[in-house]
């Protein structure tokens, strides 16, 4: 596969792995958080941890939009689609995301709710055009990468006068989440965040650029390397992080320079800022309420805002108290440290956020990585 296989080359991987092995100091541990689910997936899917020295540990971060969506937002979506006039358009991996009390969109659909799995915002536009009498609501979710397509959808709806189309907006912001992880008092009070550096987002950074990470690197003294989602990208980024740690540097470096610039995509950023504005706070599963971390539609676009249009109010739903997602997302615990992991919480019946999408820390670990930790009993 042209333009993919080149970034999955075993010989080059072994070369970078040797370089990492040669440069790490045996005197210390290297704990790096890959923020994005895309990186988590690549690490697990290609078995990358097998190529790393034992004292380099990867911590799977909260950068999976489905995973961090709190139960309350799923409950709100179910309330929305309980209205007989509403057709809800969602991305497939949201279907199993847990709401409160065992609710999910999959279950709501089985009970008769009109929920359609779509692959892009264009599908929602098509549905709205085909069924002008329906209230078509697009369940918008994702980090900075998926926000511009939602903005474009609203522009098209405006232009085509699609009166039945609206957006249930759950777009969230990466730098605020990183800030929240680094600043969290729970972690700070127990002796500091056990993270020595970050692998920064690939796709998100194509939009926002590398500049927004600079204050984080400076304020918290952590190196950040923006990296692509291919396994060689991740390995190279780890090598760059190891070098920064060894040289006591805390810089934002760009491994993904074939796509990402410091400024990002100005047109996409402009489009987003014309249509969306910051919410004072937004709830993240595992992180709680994070200030300035979510987007909503500006008042000028209120007609496209499903929350306004259907007067759906914010809900608060407590996470399962036994769920360790909060600590796992911050790197303080590992999936196997959670009592629920692999018992009542599996990808089929996720309890916590990290088990929901294949990019979540627990789901990736369950699906690809368990083999390293579950002991093989020797039988005679």
């Amino acid at each position: 596969m042209k333009f993919a296989d080149e970034f999955r080359n075993k010989a080059i991987a072994q070369g970078i792995a040797r370089a990492i092995g040669g440069e790490v100091s045996s005197q210390r541990a290297y704990r790096f958080m890959e923020f994005c689910g895309g990186h988590t997936h690549a690490i697990s899917r290609y078995g990358l941890e097998d190529l790393l020295p034992a004292n380099v540990r990867m911590i799977h971060g909260p950068g999976c939009p489905v995973c961090v969506l709190p139960a309350s937002r799923i409950d709100m979506a179910i309330r929305l689609v309980d209205r007989p006039e509403v057709t809800l358009c969602v991305y497939g991996d949201l279907m199993r995301a847990p709401g409160s009390q065992g609710q999910s969109l999959l279950r709501a659909k089985a009970l008769g709710a009109d929920i359609r799995m779509v692959y892009s915002t264009l599908d929602a536009i098509r549905l709205a055009e085909q069924a002008p009498s329906r209230e078509v609501v697009f369940f918008a979710i994702g980090f900075e990468t998926t926000t511009p397509p939602t903005a474009v959808m609203i522009r098209i709806a405006e232009k085509k006068r699609l009166k039945g189309l609206s957006v249930f907006c759950n777009h969230v912001l990466t730098p605020s989440a990183m800030h929240s992880i680094l600043e969290n008092p729970k972690i700070r009070d127990t002796g500091g965040v056990p993270i020595d550096g970050f692998i920064g987002p690939a796709h998100v950074s194509t939009i926002i650029g590398t500049q927004p990470y600079e204050p984080l690197a400076e304020q918290f003294g952590k190196p950040i390397v923006i990296a692509g989602f291919e396994p060689l990208d991740v390995l190279q980024a780890i090598l760059m992080l190891v070098r920064q740690v060894n040289e006591d540097r805390n810089e934002v470096e760009n491994q993904y320079s074939r796509v990402v610039t410091r400024e990002g995509n100005r047109r996409a950023k402009d489009e987003v800022s014309q249509i969306f504005e910051l919410r004072a706070q937004f709830e993240w599963r595992g992180l709680g309420l994070v200030p300035n971390s979510g987007l909503k539609l500006k008042p000028a676009y209120a007609q496209f805002d499903a929350e306004t249009r259907f007067a759906i109010h914010d809900l608060r739903v407590a996470d399962n108290p036994a769920c360790e997602c909060c600590a796992i997302l911050r790197g303080a615990k590992r999936p196997v440290d959670c009592k629920l992991f692999g018992t009542v919480c599996t990808p089929e019946t996720p309890i916590g956020s990290c088990m929901v999408s294949s990019e979540g820390a627990c789901a990736a670990y369950w699906t690809y990585g368990r083999v390293r930790d579950e002991p093989l009993r020797r039988t005679s």
Binding site: M1, G47, L51, S358, V371
Partner: protein
């Protein structure tokens, strides 16, 4: 069947199925004789009974049944009809058996075009004929518009297996080799490419095929050294090997680089975020074979047109956790888990 009195001919070009074609009256008799018997034509159906009697040769009988609800009904490489014949033949054949007879039951939605029904029935007839299998009994029901998505087909298959063969998913042994008969994921990717909301262009067609002749040459080469055979349909190779691992209480270790996947399938899976080993096949098999016979069985497979891309992709290992593991092409290793969640409904 002779139908007395005047009856308008079935308009196979522009006509449509209506509720009378499932009502048990003359219209139904006309549909059966004018369309299904024409397509399946054989001595058993010609006797127009509600059942068919047949002779049974020595050996044990094998029976299986399967429902087909694929959407869309027509796809590159086949349609729901050929799939309903191949799929059930394959389920019989995976026991090492020679498939002999099929039944076919149709649930048709009111308004379904005769022309489509004829194409589907004809391809069932020709799939069965070229496999040397007879469709000897059947049933037709018509339901109101909106109560079935065009057409559902159920087929049941019967075959005979030699006494010395006893393939079963609990028979894999540590050290056995894992063979696959060809490239994985072709059928699933083909169906996805034709879904309305997923339309993309691909050169791949469904691999839908009857595998019993391939099975016959494998059995000739490996005999009872073939411990298990499965056709990896829904859930793909990953689900099949996990099932066998659980039933045989062992693990598997696969080598990603040796698993055959067509470039177009790999590219599509890349685009959609799927793994080819989770994608459905309809003309491929997985065989778990004793190590001393694996090379002979693999050579026999490669010499058969349906096994020309066959490959040895790994081995059974002792593992109380029953993990299917894979050495990745990148030099790491990972678990190959069951597919969780719905990759795509109604793939077969």
């Amino acid at each position: 069947m002779s139908v007395k009195g005047y009856q308008r001919k079935l308009d196979l070009e522009n006509g449509r199925v209506d509720l009378s074609h499932g009502s048990g009256g003359r219209a139904m008799a006309q549909l059966i004789s004018g369309l299904f018997h024409q397509a399946f034509g054989n001595e058993w159906l010609a006797r127009c009974n509600d059942q068919s009697a047949f002779e049974v040769a020595a050996g044990r009988m094998v029976m299986t049944t399967d429902g087909y609800v694929v959407s869309p009904l027509f796809f590159p490489g086949g349609n729901i009809g050929s799939l309903a014949v191949h799929g059930t033949i394959n389920d019989v054949a995976m026991s090492g058996a020679r498939p002999l007879y099929l039944s076919a039951s149709f649930i048709i939605e009111e308004g379904f075009p005769f022309s489509d029904l004829k194409v589907i029935a004809d391809s069932m007839g020709s799939a069965a004929r070229s496999a040397g299998v007879h469709i000897i009994t059947g049933d037709t029901k018509v339901v109101e518009r909106g109560k079935a998505d065009g057409l559902f087909i159920s087929t049941t298959g019967i075959g005979i297996v030699a006494d010395e063969l006893d393939l079963s998913a609990d028979k894999a042994r540590v050290g056995d080799r894992v063979l696959v008969s060809g490239s994985l994921g072709d059928h699933g990717v083909t169906i996805m490419s034709k879904r309305q909301n997923l339309a993309f262009q691909t050169e791949v067609g469904s691999d839908s095929a009857a595998l019993h002749n391939l099975v016959a040459v494998m059995v000739a080469a490996g005999g009872s050294g073939i411990r298990v055979m499965r056709d990896p349909t829904r859930g793909g190779l990953a689900a099949t090997l996990n099932e066998i691992a659980h039933q045989s209480e062992l693990g598997f270790r696969l080598h990603e680089a040796s698993i055959p996947v067509k470039p177009a399938v790999a590219a599509t899976c890349e685009l959609l975020g799927l793994d080819p080993i989770h994608v459905a096949n309809e003309g491929k098999l997985v065989a778990i074979v004793a190590p001393d016979l694996a090379d002979a069985v693999l050579a026999a497979m490669k010499a058969h047109p349906l096994g020309s891309d066959a490959a040895d992709i790994g081995e059974a290992v002792a593992d109380n956790r029953k993990f299917v593991q894979m050495a990745t092409g990148f030099g790491g290793r990972r678990i190959v888990d069951w597919l969780w969640g719905e990759q795509l409904p109604r793939i077969c």
